[in-house]
């Protein structure tokens, strides 16, 4: 949409931007066509729509996970049989 206020965050060839944008639109259709209830999230054009998913991952998804100990659950002792 030429009137869109969304600006690309990645300056590249117009052809590549357009291809990434077309792929984004296809992805939005898939994400929004879920058979689930209508309380779910909605997806569409934003500042990242000019990025291919692999570019998006390479730039923005750069946190490494770590294995953490499980939060200990409360221990419940059975109540002994009492008269």
């Amino acid at each position: 949409d030429p009137g869109s206020t969304v600006t690309p965050t990645w300056s590249r060839s117009r052809g590549r931007d357009a291809a990434a944008f077309r792929e984004s639109l296809r992805r939005h259709r898939f994400l929004n066509s879920s058979p689930w209830e209508n309380t779910t999230a909605f997806y569409g054009v934003n500042q990242f729509s000019y990025l291919f998913p692999e570019e998006f991952k390479a730039i923005y998804l750069r946190s490494k996970p770590a294995m953490f100990p499980r939060q200990p659950t409360e221990m419940y002792k059975p109540i002994p049989n009492v008269p």
């Binding site: 994400l31 309380t39 779910t40 999230a41 934003n46 998006f56 750069r62 946190s63 996970p65």
Partner: protein
């Protein structure tokens, strides 16, 4: 637990920032948690330096990526004071670590805890109330296209790749959700925030949870 709680209502959460083209989400989330923990202690809410963490947390790779756990370990071990953002501003690129004299004002981390709260999200909510906003690492691949609503599908646990800050939760509606501050600017999502369904470890939100005390 209250039905709704958000640390923003207590005015202890700084504005959403933009990491721009820098893979520094891990530093934004940790600094956000330190800012809030400091304000929860009754101190003024200050915007602290993300660039200082990017440049100085030596086990991480600055804008090339990092781990909130490494940053917390570094802050705790060195007792380094995080200075104000205006003192050490964000440049969206790696730089040389700047050192400050011990008389420089700043905020240091007293302690931190990290846990896996999967299948125990009510416990995670208690930790949020007790300690302040929580640093979590999520699978955010589908967040590229997120505009609003409650994220319930299209992401997995066990594939974490993005660090964010949980500031609250809302259980007043049919679908309870976490209120999550991102670092992709205010134009992304719901004024820079995402809403993620509570109770099913959506996007792995409960897998890697850290809390900070200052």
């Amino acid at each position: 637990l209250p039905l709704r709680f958000d640390w923003r209502d207590k005015h202890v959460v700084t504005q959403v920032r933009s990491q721009q083209m820098c893979g520094g989400c891990w530093a934004f989330s940790v600094v956000g948690a330190v800012e809030s923990a400091h304000a929860i202690q009754g101190e003024p809410l200050e915007v602290l330096s993300v660039q200082q963490v990017l440049d100085c947390s030596y086990k991480d790779d600055g804008c090339g990526g990092g781990s909130p756990l490494n940053a917390l370990r570094w802050l705790n071990k060195t007792q380094v004071k995080l200075v104000e953002d205006s003192e050490y501003p964000f440049k969206a690129q790696n730089g040389l670590c700047r050192y400050f004299s011990s008389s420089q004002s700043g905020v240091s981390v007293k302690d931190y805890t990290s846990h896996d709260f999967s299948e125990q999200e009510d416990e995670m909510a208690r930790a949020l109330l007790t300690f302040g906003p929580l640093v979590v690492v999520v699978d955010a691949v589908s967040w590229q296209d997120y505009l609003g609503g409650i994220i319930q599908h299209h992401c997995s646990s066990g594939e974490a790749n993005h660090a964010v800050l949980v500031t609250g939760f809302d259980k007043t509606g049919r679908i309870p959700y976490w209120i999550v501050r991102n670092s992709w600017g205010r134009s992304w999502g719901v004024d820079g925030y995402a809403h993620v369904k509570m109770g099913s470890n959506i996007c792995g939100i409960a897998d890697s949870v850290s809390a900070v005390s200052v």
